[in-house]
Assembly symmetry: C2
Homo-oligomer: 682 residues x 2
C-alpha cells in the first residue's frame, strides 16, 4: 500500500493550543473535570455513585503486601463471580477486602491519568503531578509480581483470570492503563507507570500469542490493539506491535474463541453476538460496522494503526470499507454513531431514529480516533470533515457549558415527557447527569479535549497538515528546518483562519490545509505568489520556499446550510437539518415553544446570523422565517367519534420566527424539547 502521503502525530509538548473556543473547553477539563474526577475515583463526591476505583487498587495493594509478608502461608482467594457490577451491602462501609464497581472499574483511573498527562503538558502543575504520582504508587502497589494488574481478579481470585475475556474487560483495562501510562510518561518523563504497563504487557504477551500452548483469545472490548501500538511507538519494543497484530488476527477466526471460552457447542454460524463483538469475520474481511459502537471504532482505530505500520493492503482496505459503512450508512448528521440503545450498538444501515438515538459520546470520540488514523495514512478531507462533525456536535454535546454534567446519549430529538414516560426512550436524558456509575464518557471527553492538538495537526518529513482549524502554536520540523507555525482560527464562529511561520532560515516545504466540506463547492483556492498550489483530496497543498514571517489567511465561507439525509433514512423523510460550518443547529423549546414537531422552516427565505453570548460562549444563533401549525380546533366532526381523528383539511399555520442554536449548546437552559430535524414549509 502507498504510504507516501502518510503523516505522523506531533508531540503534544510541541503544540500549544491558543484557540479561544477550545481553550475554554480545555480549561474546563483542567480546572473542573480532572479535580472532580479525582474526587470521584476516591468516592469523595457524596451525590455521585461511588466509583470504588482507588479503593480497589488499595485493597489489591494490601493483598499483595500480605502475600509477600506471608509467603507460603498466604492463601489466595478462590474466584467467585459477584456480578458485572458489585456494590457493598452497606454503601457507607465498603469492606476493605472486597472489589466494588464494574469489572472494568480500574480503567477509570487510567482515563484520568491519561487526561492528567495531557493537561500537565499543556499546563504544568506540580500539585496535580504530586497527586498523580501518589495515585500511581497506589496503582503500582496493586500489580502482581508477574506483571498482572487488574484488581477485579487480583481481589476476587486469580484462578479465573483471563477466563472471561468477552465480558470481563481485563484486556480493556490493560489498554486504558497503557494509554494512560504513555501519556503520563510523555508528560513527565516518569517511567513508573509506563514500566508497570510494560510489565503487564509482557505478562499478557507471555500468556497470549500464536505459539502453541498460548491462549488464542482477544479482547471483548477493544482498545488494547491501539494501546499496544502506542506502547510500541514509545518503547520501540516490537513485541508489543506483534501482540497487537495477534489480537487483530485472531478476531473472527474459526472456531470462534469465545465458543471455546464458554464451551458453547452447536453454535450457529454468524450468530448475533459475534457481530456484536466485531468478531463475525476476520477483521480483514469485515465490511459492515456492527455491534457495540465504541468497541467497533476502537477496533477500527487499531486496525488503521496496524495498516499504517505494516503497510498491509488488506487491512487498509477493510478500514476503508468500515469507514464507508459508518459514514455512508450509519452516522447521524451530528457525527453520532450507534443508533440503538440495545447493546449501545450499530443497528442496521440507514436506521437512524432521532428520538431514540443512542449516539454515545464515547462512540463519537472513538470515531475521531479512527478518523485521525485514517488521515495519518492518507490525507483526505472526508475524514477530517467527519472528525470535525463529531467533535463539534456529539462530543461537545456530551458536556455541559460549565463542565459539570454530561450526556452519555446524544439524541437528535428530545421530549422530556417521552423520556419520562416511555421506557423505550428512558436512555434519552433531557438533562445532563452529574456523573455515571459506568463513567466512560466524562473521562473520555477529558482525555480527548486535553489532547486536541493530536487531531488538529500532523507532519510528514516535508509537510505540515492542518486537519482542524484550531488555533495553536506548533513547533516542528519541516524539511529539516525548525519552524514555529501559528494557526489562528475563528471556527466555529466564522471561517476566518490563518497561518503564520517563524523560522530562522528559509526552507522549502509544504503546508497542507484542509478545505472544509462545509466551505462549499464555490470555494476557490487562493493564488499565492511564488508558491505552487494544488488541491488534492480536499487539501490545499502550498509548496514553495517559506521565509520567516510568511503568513496566509483563508476565509472559508461559513454560511447556514440546509441539508437532508439520504432518502433511505426513513426517520428523516420530509425533514431537513440546519448546519453552519461544522456545527449542527437545533431548535429548543425555550426559544421556540413546546411541540416542536408543529414547526416548519421556510427554507427559501434565508437566515439571519445573530452573534451573541449564549451559555457564556460567543455563539452564532440562526434565525429564520418559519410557520407553526395551528392545531385543528374543529369540534369533533362526524368522520369519527373519536376525538383523536378528524377529516383532513389543509393545515393552517401562523408565521413564527425560528431560533436555532448550536446543537452542542442544547440542554443548558433548563429542560425542554429539542429537535435537530424540521420539516420545510411547502
Amino acid at each position: 500500500m502507498d504510504l507516501s502521503k502518510s503523516s505522523r502525530e506531533i508531540d503534544l509538548h510541541d503544540i500549544q493550543i491558543t484557540d479561544s473556543f477550545w481553550n475554554g473547553k480545555m480549561e474546563l477539563i483542567r480546572k473542573t473535570v480532572i479535580p472532580y474526577q479525582w474526587d470521584i475515583l476516591n468516592d469523595k463526591v457524596p451525590e455521585a455513585v461511588p466509583s470504588y476505583c482507588m479503593h480497589n487498587f488499595k485493597v489489591a495493594g494490601r493483598m499483595n503486601k500480605e502475600k509477600r509478608d506471608k509467603g507460603d502461608a498466604y492463601v489466595a482467594p478462590t474466584y467467585t463471580f459477584r456480578g458485572f457490577e458489585s456494590l457493598p451491602k452497606d454503601p457507607k462501609n465498603p469492606k476493605d477486602d472486597e472489589f466494588y464497581g464494574f469489572v472494568f472499574q480500574d480503567s477509570d483511573f487510567s482515563k484520568w491519568i491519561e487526561a492528567v498527562g495531557y493537561s500537565l503538558i499543556n499546563h504544568p502543575d506540580p500539585e496535580l503531578e504530586k497527586v498523580a504520582d501518589e495515585a500511581i504508587d497506589i496503582v503500582c502497589d496493586a500489580q502482581l509480581d508477574n506483571g498482572y494488574l487488574d484488581t477485579y481478579y487480583i481481589i476476587n481470585g486469580m484462578d479465573k483470570a483471563f477466563t472471561n475475556l468477552r465480558d470481563h474487560h481485563e484486556l480493556y483495562c490493560f489498554g486504558h492503563l497503557t494509554e494512560g501510562a504513555v501519556s503520563y510518561y510523555k508528560a513527565t518523563g516518569k517511567r513508573k507507570l509506563l514500566d508497570a504497563a510494560c510489565r503487564f504487557a509482557d505478562y499478557i504477551d507471555s500468556y497470549f500469542g500464536p505459539e502453541e500452548g498460548k491462549c488464542k483469545g482477544y479482547p471483548g472490548h477493544e482498545i488494547a490493539e491501539m494501546a499496544l501500538v502506542r506502547l510500541y511507538e514509545v518503547t520501540g519494543n516490537k513485541k508489543y506491535l506483534d501482540l497487537s497484530a495477534f489480537f487483530l488476527d485472531e478476531r473472527g477466526r474459526k472456531p470462534y474463541y469465545y465458543d471455546k471460552e464458554f464451551n458453547i457447542e452447536n453454535r450457529k454460524e454468524g450468530e448475533l453476538d459475534y457481530y456484536y463483538l466485531q468478531a463475525h469475520l476476520p477483521v480483514r474481511e469485515q465490511s459492515q460496522a456492527t455491534g457495540h459502537a465504541v468497541r467497533a471504532v476502537y477496533l477500527y482505530s487499531g486496525m488503521a494503526d496496524m495498516a499504517r505500520l505494516s503497510g498491509d493492503d488488506s487491512m487498509y482496505e477493510a478500514c476503508l470499507r468500515l469507514w464507508n459503512s459508518i459514514t455512508n450508512e450509519q452516522m447521524y448528521i451530528t457525527g453520532g454513531i450507534g443508533s440503538t440503545v440495545l447493546g449501545e450498538a450499530f443497528s442496521y444501515p440507514f436506521d437512524l431514529p432521532n428520538d431514540s438515538a443512542y449516539a454515545e459520546t464515547c462512540a463519537s470520540i472513538g470515531l475521531i480516533f479512527f478518523a485521525i488514523r485514517m488521515l495519518q495514512i492518507k490525507p483526505d478531507s472526508k475524514y477530517a470533515d467527519v472528525m470535525e462533525l463529531a467533535l463539534y456536535n456529539t462530543v461537545l454535546s456530551g458536556m455541559s457549558a460549565d463542565g459539570k454534567s454530561f450526556f452519555y446519549v446524544n439524541p437528535l430529538e428530545a421530549n422530556p415527557k417521552a423520556s419520562l414516560l416511555d421506557e423505550r426512550k428512558r436512555h434519552v436524558k433531557t438533562t445532563r447527569q452529574k456523573w455515571f456509575g459506568c463513567a466512560c464518557c466524562p473521562p473520555n471527553l477529558a482525555r480527548l479535549i486535553s489532547s486536541l492538538g493530536r487531531y488538529a495537526y500532523t507532519v510528514s518529513d516535508d509537510t505540515l497538515f492542518v486537519h482542524l482549524y484550531i488555533g495553536g502554536v506548533i513547533s516542528t520540523t519541516i524539511s529539516g528546518s525548525d519552524v514555529e507555525v501559528t494557526v489562528t482560527s475563528d471556527v466555529p464562529n466564522s471561517g476566518n483562519v490563518g497561518l503564520s511561520l517563524k523560522c530562522d532560515h528559509e526552507f522549502e516545504g509544504t503546508l497542507a490545509l484542509r478545505i472544509p466540506g462545509w466551505a462549499g463547492g464555490s470555494y476557490r483556492d487562493p493564488v499565492i505568489d511564488g508558491m505552487n498550489t494544488r488541491r488534492e483530496d480536499g487539501y490545499l497543498y502550498i509548496t514553495g520556499k517559506f521565509r520567516n514571517g510568511y503568513s496566509i489567511k483563508l476565509d472559508f465561507r461559513m454560511e447556514p446550510r440546509v441539508i437532508e439525509a439520504d432518502s433511505r433514512v426513513r426517520e428523516d423523510e420530509g425533514k431537513v437539518a440546519l448546519l453552519r460550518g461544522p456545527v449542527v443547529y437545533c431548535l429548543e423549546e425555550v426559544d421556540n415553544g413546546k411541540d416542536l414537531h408543529l414547526l416548519r422552516m421556510r427554507v427559501e427565505k434565508g437566515f439571519e446570523e445573530v452573534h451573541s453570548m449564549l451559555n457564556g460562549m460567543q455563539t452564532v444563533i440562526l434565525k429564520c422565517y418559519g410557520k407553526r401549525r395551528i392545531p385543528f380546533d374543529g369540534s369533533m366532526n362526524d368522520t369519527s367519534k373519536s376525538g383523536l381523528y378528524h377529516t383532513y383539511t389543509k393545515p393552517q399555520y401562523k408565521d413564527v420566527t425560528l431560533k436555532f442554536i448550536p446543537y452542542f449548546e442544547w440542554a443548558n437552559r433548563g429542560e425542554g424539547e429539542m429537535s435537530v430535524y424540521i420539516a420545510p414549509a411547502t
Copy 2:
C-alpha cells in the same frame, strides 16, 4: 344514574347471522379455527408449540383420582415454582405427572369451549358437541372436591394456591372457565361445566370477600369481574354479582394488596406496577387508561357491567372517563390500543408510534367488550363507531384470509427488514404466525366472531337497537309483540342497509338505527310516512306502529375519507390515513413498490373505487393519484463528505398511481412493507 335508555343482549339462539361478509369469517372459525384449536389443545399439531392444556387437565384428574383412592395415604405435592412457563425437558415425552405451559394454560380450553358454544348455537353439530362433552368430562375430573379448578396449582401443590394473584392468573383462568361454561350451557342446556364453574365460584367466594378473615386480593389479570356478572345473569345467584363487586372495590385500595402479597415494604406511592395493574387508584377514581391493555379493557368491561346492574353513578362516570382516555388519547385509527410492546401496554397520551405499535388483537377485542357494555347502558354511536373500527381493522387483521394464521401485534407501518434487524421492532411480525405458545389472540378471535350478534343488536322493552350493520335475522319481542327483524347490509362494501319486519300483529315500538360516524355530517334522516323519527346521540329512532312486512332501506354514503390525527400525535404529523366506511386502508409493497415512505398522496384528486376480488373476498380497492419521491441522485456534494447527507433541494417526484387495500387484508400476499399513514402531496 339514568338507565331509562339501557338495553340488553339478545340470546344468540334468537339471532341468525346471514351477512355475506361475516358469515364467511364465522365459517372460517367453525371449519378451520375451532378444529385446529382442538388439535392444539391436545398437542396434535406437530409444527405448533405444544399447548399441554388437555394434558394438564388429565394429569390433575389422575391426581384427584389417586387422592380419592388413597384417602389418608395420599401425599399432596409441595409447591415449587417452576417458572411462568414450564416445558418438558424432553418435548417428545412430557411426563404424566407434571404441569406444562404457561401458568394460565387452562384458559385455552375455556376460550375454545366458549367459541364451541357459540358455534353450536349458530350451527348445531353433534360430532363437535360430543368432542366438547368429552373435553368437559376431562376438565371436570380435574376439579377438586372443594371446587377449586386450576391445574397449575392442583398439580404443582395446592399449598400455594391464591398466593400469587398478581402473576399466576388463577382468577383469570376462573373467569375464562366461567365465560366458557355459560356459553356452552346456553348452547346445549348441559349444566356439567356450568356447575363446575359455579362450584369454583363458590369456593372463591368462600375464600375472598369483605368479611373478616377472608382474603382481600383481586385478579392480577382481570376478566373474573365480567365473568361473574355473566354467571349471576345466568344463575340469578346474587352472590356472584357481589363477588364481582368485591373484586372491583378492592382494586386500588390502600394498603395495596400486592404489597402485602409480596411483603414489599417502603413501596413508594404510585409506583409504576400499580398503574400497570390498573390498581393505582380505586376504580371509581380512575381517569386514565393505563397498563396492560387487555387487562385494562377487561376491567373496564366489568366496571361497565357493574355500573349497569348497580346503577352506581361514580362507577359509570369512571367508565366514561376511561372510555374517553382511550378513544381521545390512546387509540390508533385502526381501533388498536396498547402502543408499547413493553408490557403490552398503554404508553402515555398521544404516544402512538406506527412502526413499533403493539395494538394487540385481544386488546381491540376487549375494547369491543367495553363498547357494547357502554352501549347497553346508554346508546351513543360513538361507542358503536369505535366498536366497528376495532372490529373491521385490528380484530380482522388478526386473522389471515384463510383463517390459518394470526397476528398478535397489528402495526400501522411494517418493514420486514426492520422487524428482522431491529430488536425494538421484533414483535412486529410481517407474516402471520401459525399459532402461539401464549395463544390468546386466535381463540379470542374465535369467541368474538362466533358471537357477533351480541355486538350488533340489543333490545329494550320497546326498542330494537342496531349498533352494527351486520346482516341477520333477529327474533325478539318489542313492546310485548314477537317480531322477526331481518337486517340486510352491504357493509363494508357499501353503506346500503335495510330492515324488514315480520310480525303477526301490528305493534307500537321503536327501531333505533345507528347513523355511522363515517356516513358524514351530510347524512340526512329519511322522512318516513306515519312514523315519528328523531335523532339522538347518533341513533335514528323510528317510533310508530309497525306492521308485518314493514321495511326500510338506508343508504349511508360510504366514501373514501382522508383523516388526520390530533396534532399531539407526533408520529402522525404531516401524514394522513385513508378510510372508507369503517375500513382503514393501507398501502402494501406488492401494489406500490418498496420504500413506501417515499410516496405522497394527491388528496385533492379524489379516489377511484375498484370493486374486485382480493384474497378471495369481494373488496373495494381504492386508487388515487400520487407521487413517488425520486431519491437524490447527485453525486456526493461538498456540503458534507459523508455520503449520507446532501444539500437540500426541492424534492423531485414522479407521478404514480397509489393502490390502497383494506388494512385487514394486509399480509395475505407475501411479505413486504405496509403503511397506513402517508404524507399528502403539497
